[in-house]
Structure formats: structure tokens, C-alpha cells
Amino acid sequence: MHEEQVPGQARPVARRVVTSFLVQKAAESPAHGTLIARTEDSLYRTVLGVKETHGIEELGIAFWDAETTIQWSYNADRPFHAASTMKLAVLLGVFRQIIRGELTADAPVHVRNKFTSIVDRKPFTLELNRDSDPEVFANLGRTMSVEQLAYEMITRSSNFATNLLVDVVGVPAIQRALDELRIDGVQVLRGVEDQPAFEAGLNNQVTANGLLRLLRLLAEGEAWSAEASQRMREILLEQRFKSGIPAGLPKDARVAHKTGNISTVHHDAGIVYLEGRKPYVLVILTQFPMQAGDASAVAEVSRDIYESLVGAMA
């Protein structure tokens, strides 16, 4: 176990979980156990290097590999501003309501740019952008189905679709979905672009471990049902923003993931499918000093973890 001393803050913790797989492998071959330990050392040093090189203020990482059952984390219980990774929780909340029969995937939703702040209950509108959000923008004043909105919320990270779905499902139902699945570390208070709430410090938060738990449930088909989990994974696989985790992987890798980017944070959280092996789940959360964000750090960490895992299995 390694620890990093940060003055004035709780020390981030890098932690490995020695699993039955590793115990078995180490028993079969002590050299293999040594290799795993060396891999973890190497990974830890690399992560610290990336942190320093990119000027990352805070870094949180968690991964779990279904193939080796290795679980490793760094600073994984520290809360970060969720940015758009909160849309994973909204997706979960939507499917909860569908599974419970309180909502249907084809139910029509009025595409209306009018939302209510959680702070003063005053209405606010989103700054709409036809280029970044073409599908939802094109349907302004009409309806889109719940499933179409969920697709746009994830694949194009549509804030408009997200706020519409948060209105449909309700924040309490989203939080209940997280509670029922025992996902700690993900807290949803509101939709997006609620400026009065942001100024009041009322933000959605995630930890790397929280998102890891959420994605692991999806990967293992345990989020409500195997069918619901599969449908959510299918939507996540259609993600259009690929500069995070996918950028650090071979071209044939498929990633069911959700990014989260605002000026000071760059996150990515996803399930990585590689040919010939079981998937691994990876969450990378980064926070930068004001306006100094650098999304390439996420790709670099993703590459390092991929190479470490491949190395460990070689």
C-alpha cells in the first residue's frame, strides 16, 4: 500500500484488493504474485507522474477487472463535482421507473426549455446550442420519447435531455435508485446548469468508488435486471465523446462510458471490453486549478492501466 502526503488534506490512499484470483495465482506461482505487486507499484508511480505532469489538483481512480478480479483504487472516496457523470445516475433512475412500471420507454416528453432552480424555485432556461445538441434542439416544442432522451443524454451528453428526464423522474427517485442499489458516493441534488444552485454550492457529487459500483452493477447485469442492464450498456456503448478512456486503448476496444467535463474537472467512467477477455471497469476523476483543465490526462491514465493489466496477465 502506498500513500501520498498532501499538506492540509486527508492523504489519498492507493489500495489493492487481494482477491481469490491473486491468492490462487500467487500460490501457483510465487513469481506471479511478485509480478502483480510490481505492477501495482509501477501503476502507482505512473499515476503520480501523470498527476504531476498535467498539474492535476485532485485525482481519483478506481478500477475492477472481471478477468483477474483485481480491484485497485487511488483516492477513490474523495468527492468530486460530478459534471456530466451524474447522467449515469439519471439513467439508472429512468430505468428504475421503467422497471417498476411507473414510466414507459416510449412515453412522450414535451421538449420545453424551462426548468426550475432548486434554490429559489425560479425558472431558468438552458443556453441551447444547435450544433452540440442537434436532435433535442430540433424537437423543441415537440415531444421525444423517454428512451430517445436517455440516448441523447448519454451519447451526446445533452444537458437539455438530462434536465427533461430529471423533471420526469424526479431527484428523489434518482437518489432512491442509488440507495436501493447501495451505491454510495454518488449524490444527485439537481439537473444541470442550475446557476443559483451552483453559486450556493449545491452540486452533484461523485466518488470514483461510487461510480465504480454503479458501472460494475451494469457490467454484471445487476442493475434492476439483466435486460435493463444490457439496454443501459448498449446506450453507453454509443458514446460519441472518445477523448477520455477510449483514447488510451487499442482501436478495437469497445467502451460503455460516460464523460464529465467542465472547466475544472475532466472525468470518464466506463466498462472496457477487449477481445478475448472479460471486461474491466475504470473510473478516472480529475480536478484542475481554475480553467487549467487538460482532458488528455484521463487518456494517459487509461493507457497506463491498460498496459499494466496486459502486463500483469502476460
Binding site: L103, A107, P108, V109, H110, V111, R112, N113, K114, K122, P123, T125, L140, G141, R142, T143, V146, V168
Partner: protein, 240 residues
């Protein structure tokens, strides 16, 4: 129920008291409903029956307005109301007439918003009652290419609508309840239309059972209303 379709638009006219109990309970035909300032209004009783979405698109209420535009709702409307056959108060034809005049005046297509035509009494946007429940109100979110989400545009078209007829009421621009900032609202008030072929002389009560749950509940309330204790009878004259 009238077997003859309404001659003008070819849809069957329905007395909502003849509908299935579940639907009747949602539409609450002829029931008094409380409006703003304590005013009470009787909810509509006569509806057009719209058998399918295709039929709703075919039926033209005016040269430029299809019936389907008045039926646009989202999941804020009860699922049973969203299912076909659907029902819309007959007074919607009056609204369409005025909207067609408005369209002539502005010289451009007018677009009703989703949830901007007929809303049932159980629609989740309802804050108290609204003429939308009578089919006599419309929310327009776009006129020609202009999205009605700015003060200037809303006030401009509000003035045009007001000048069109004293029968039309428009909602002022604003952000609070009772005002609008992303559409213009026009309505004719609480008008119930009785189609020529319908008769109002028969009892409203369904012969098969209670009219709807709320009436039954009221009757139950009356039955169980606490009664004052019986007054003891005054003693009679002493027997001789």
C-alpha cells in the same frame, strides 16, 4: 351516445356519461370544478371520439388546423386519456375558428405547444381549473419562424390576439403562475358546447351504477354525517 357522426368533421359525438367508469372518473363530465377566486364551472360533457392518431391527423377543424394539434400531450397527461380512442370537448371547434382568424391576421402558420391544446382535469400541469379542460384554450409556442420565448414577441402577438376579438383572453408575459414566458396563451373561457344532435333531457346518472366515484363518496359522506343526538320527548301529561 349519438350514432350519427357530426356532419362537419365526421366524428362520433359522445356523452361522457356513457363512457367506461375509469374514463368517466378522469373526465368528470358535468361536474362542478372550482376556479380562481372561488368561481365554479361545470366541466364539459360532450366530446368528439377520435378513433386513431391517423384519424386525428385527417380531421381538419379549419383549413389550416388539424384536430391532432389540439391533442398533443406528453406523459403529464394520464395514460388512459392518451390512449385511442381519445376524447376532446366539442367546444374545440370554436377555439379552432378563432385560431384560424388569428392565423389570417398574422399571415403565418401558428403552432400549438405540446400540452397546449386540450388537457383533461387530471393533467399534471393543472393548477386549479383552466379552459384547456374545456378545449377552449391554446398555448402557441411558435408563429411562423418566431419562437415565442421573448418578451417582445409574446407581447406583440398578445396584442394582435386581443385586438382580434373581445372573446379572446390572453395571458400576460411573465415568469410566475398566471403569466407566460415561453408561449402565448389564448382562451375563450369556460364554454361547453352541446352538439345539435344531442339531447340533454335524459338523466345524467348511468343506469348501471353510480356516476363516478366522487359523487358516490359525497353521498357516503352525507350518509355518515354526524347527526345531533335525538331530543328526548317531552313528558306527556300525567295520566289521569
Amino acid at each position: 351516445m349519438s350514432d350519427k357522426p357530426d356532419g362537419a368533421i365526421g366524428l362520433k359525438v359522445v356523452d361522457a356519461f356513457d363512457l367506461e367508469p375509469e374514463l368517466r372518473a378522469l373526465l368528470r363530465p358535468n361536474e362542478m370544478a372550482m376556479g380562481k377566486a372561488g368561481h365554479q364551472h361545470r366541466l364539459p360533457r360532450y366530446f368528439y371520439e377520435v378513433p386513431s392518431h391517423e384519424r386525428a391527423k385527417e380531421v381538419r377543424l379549419t383549413p389550416h388546423l388539424g384536430l391532432n394539434e389540439f391533442l398533443l400531450v406528453d406523459l403529464k397527461e394520464a395514460p388512459l386519456i392518451r390512449n385511442y380512442p381519445r376524447y376532446i370537448p366539442c367546444a374545440v371547434r370554436l377555439l379552432a375558428f378563432y385560431l384560424e382568424r388569428l392565423r389570417e391576421l398574422v399571415g403565418q402558420p401558428i403552432h400549438l405547444a405540446v400540452n397546449g391544446g386540450y388537457r383533461s382535469p387530471v393533467h399534471k400541469l393543472a393548477v386549479g381549473i383552466t379552459p384547456h379542460m374545456w378545449g377552449t384554450a391554446a398555448d402557441l409556442f411558435r408563429i411562423g419562424p418566431t419562437l415565442l420565448n421573448a418578451k417582445d414577441a409574446i407581447e406583440k402577438y398578445n396584442r394582435i390576439a386581443e385586438d382580434l376579438s373581445d372573446d379572446l383572453w390572453v395571458m400576460p408575459y411573465g415568469h410566475d403562475i398566471g403569466s407566460a414566458d415561453d408561449h402565448i396563451h389564448v382562451d375563450l373561457g369556460y364554454i361547453s358546447l352541446v352538439p345539435r344532435e344531442m339531447t340533454e333531457d335524459r338523466a345524467e346518472v348511468s343506469q348501471a351504477g353510480p356516476r363516478f366515484a366522487i359523487e358516490e363518496r359525497r353521498r357516503g359522506d352525507r350518509r355518515t354525517f354526524p347527526q345531533p343526538p335525538p331530543t328526548p320527548e317531552p313528558p306527556g301529561p300525567p295520566l289521569a
